[in-house]
């Protein structure tokens, strides 16, 4: 059996990012941090995709995480980025645990549309809630790390470093999870659920667990995005946000835990470039890119990696 190189690659990526960080301009750090936030959500989507489930409502947990972080800062004066991410993930996971009892029964289109409906319910709730700033949302104070308040110049780097550490640790945990029996059930559920049941495993339980993990990751990503941008609004729960995440997850493919982050970085690059070149038609560029992806690279970036690695 081939040796598992994932921890090595993850460690090397982290070291490279931490070393290169101070050399990068502020805007690059910003895009990179957002890429980690999106990558975390896509990592969760990947878990579901492996089981053949497409959640069109992952923005629900992204937004929940962001608002959990925002509420901590606004009502309790907490600005520590790790506490915020922890809170975002916990709130999202708790919510997913409850909703999972309903959602784990659905597959295919119905799973997607029901998750979409749930995220739109959250959107509606927040829009109508004056205490949470309604459609305007509210601002979030600059992040601090474990009691240390970085200055203006080093803030972006510090946040990026925190994001990198948390994201890559999450990637490693997910990688470990994929190796467990429960994690290995996913492709089986996608292929044939009835046979999974014949084997004595519960597809519903496996989906439920995946759904909660995916939600927790999305919550952490949301909290991270909230502190990075410094502002949150209900659009984070809107279904077009979920569309972005699906784009990233499809781009990444399902074979590798690093791919979601690479895909998120590429998405950020496509989005920024398209927006820069023609602000009115970025959707067109994005749609065309998504279309091209599904046609020419249906298994995502990670299939490229595997194809390359198999070459003698």
């Amino acid at each position: 059996m081939r040796q598992d190189r994932t921890p090595l690659v993850l460690g090397a990526t982290l070291a490279a990012l931490l070393a290169a960080g101070p050399l990068l301009p502020q805007w690059a750090l910003f895009i990179l941090t957002l890429a980690f936030a999106r990558g975390l959500v896509a990592l969760g989507l990947m878990l579901l995709l492996r089981a053949g489930l497409v959640s069109f409502g992952q923005a629900l947990y992204y937004c929940l995480g962001a608002y959990a972080a925002g509420a901590l800062g606004r009502f309790y004066g907490v600005s520590d980025i790790f506490v915020e991410m922890l809170a975002g993930g916990a709130v999202a996971a708790l919510c997913a645990l409850v909703l999972g009892f309903l959602l784990a029964r659905y597959r295919g289109i119905f799973f997607g549309l029901l998750s979409l409906a749930l995220s739109m319910i959250l959107y509606g709730l927040i829009v109508k809630n004056e205490a949470l700033g309604s459609t305007d949302g509210f601002n979030i104070a600059a992040a601090s790390l474990l009691g240390w308040q970085p200055g203006e110049a080093s803030l972006r780097y510090a946040v990026m470093a925190a994001a990198a550490v948390v994201s890559l640790a999450a990637a490693w945990l997910v990688h470990r999870y994929l190796g467990t029996p429960l994690g290995r059930l996913a492709p089986a559920i996608k292929d044939n659920e009835i046979r999974v049941e014949y084997m004595g495993a519960s597809a519903r339980y496996a989906v439920h667990v995946k759904y909660v993990i995916a939600a927790a990751l999305a919550g952490v990503g949301g909290a991270l995005a909230a502190t990075t941008i410094g502002h949150i609004d209900p659009d984070m729960a809107y279904w077009t946000t979920s569309g972005e995440f699906i784009f990233v997850a499809i781009l990444a493919g399902t074979r590798n835990v690093i791919a979601p982050f690479a895909a998120a970085a590429i998405y950020g690059a496509i989005y920024s470039t398209a927006y820069d070149l023609s602000p009115n038609t970025w959707q067109l560029s994005l749609g065309a890119a998504l279309l091209a992806l599904i046609v020419f690279l249906p298994e995502g970036l990670s299939s490229l990696l595997v194809r390359y690695a198999r070459r003698p």
Binding site: G243, Q283, L290
Partner: protein, 267 residues
């Protein structure tokens, strides 16, 4: 056709834009305003014929073999593209064409004024719904189409031109969306983002009714419409999400919608 088509919202928007701009031009020229209804219909037909066959032939045709969810993603990508194409053609400013709406005046029922145009819309919708049901269940074409949807391979073996059925069905479905958009255009201001709202709403409608079921869609539309009006009237705070709430409730009780078709078990 076993396609969950997000592009449908784009056709609704396309129809609305085409209807609004063509009718606007028609009335600005001083041509008889009574004919503007025909212009609305013609606009929808024209715009559908420009876009729908091209999309079906160039892109969707190659995708039918793929998973339902993948097709959903493809139409979502197309939807993003079309959304910007609309902005490129018509710009971002709103269009107003109220003439066909005001022309018919209103009548009163029990002391409440009600615009005649809306009544005609309801009648039209009933007509189209009935016509579609008749087409699908009573005519040869409709029966063949249902066979094609059920099993394209066997249909092809029996000598049906499956490709053409897909093309015509997609175009016809898109035409219905464009007509809906075009005839709704006089009652609203046509702005970018029109397609987004309507597609999410109509998804709720078909999911409540059960995918692929005509009476289900009709009942779903009725439920969504009534629930929305009631909530606007009594509890306007929840108007935004009450529909999703209803959808979630229906799915919780009937996992495949109210009028769902039985799925064979995959073993």
């Amino acid at each position: 056709m076993k396609i969950v088509n997000v592009t449908h919202g784009s056709f609704y928007a396309l129809g609305a834009y085409a209807g609004a701009s063509l009718t606007g031009a028609w009335i600005a020229r001083g041509l008889p305003p009574m004919a503007s209804y025909a212009v609305l219909a013609v606009a929808a037909v024209l715009i559908t014929l420009v876009f729908a066959p091209a999309i079906e032939r160039l892109i969707l045709r190659f995708m039918y073999a793929k998973d339902e969810v993948v097709i959903l993603l493809i139409t979502y990508a197309l939807f993003l593209v079309l959304e910007d194409v609309i902005k490129l053609i018509w710009g971002v400013d709103p269009y107003f064409v109220a003439d066909p709406y005001t022309l018919l005046g209103s009548f009163s029922v029990g002391g409440m004024d009600y615009p005649t145009y809306n009544l005609i819309l309801v009648a039209l919708a009933l007509l189209f719904g009935g016509g579609l049901a008749w087409l699908l269940h009573r005519t040869r074409v409709g029966k063949i189409l249902r066979a094609v949807i059920h099993d394209p391979e066997v249909s092809r073996a029996l000598g049906v031109n499956v490709g053409r059925y897909y093309l015509v069905t997609f175009t016809f479905g898109s035409l219905l969306a464009a007509l809906a958009g075009s005839f709704t255009a006089p009652t609203v201001s046509v702005v970018p983002g029109l397609g987004v709202d309507v597609i999410v709403l109509s998804f709720a409608v078909v999911v409540i009714g059960g995918l692929g079921s005509l009476p289900g869609a009709a009942l779903g539309a009725l439920i969504v419409g009534i629930v929305r009006s009631v909530s606007v009237h009594y509890l306007p705070q929840v108007e935004l999400f009450v529909i999703y709430f209803v959808m979630a409730m229906v799915l919780a009780l009937r996992p495949r919608g109210l009028f769902s078709l039985e799925e064979p078990r995959k073993i």
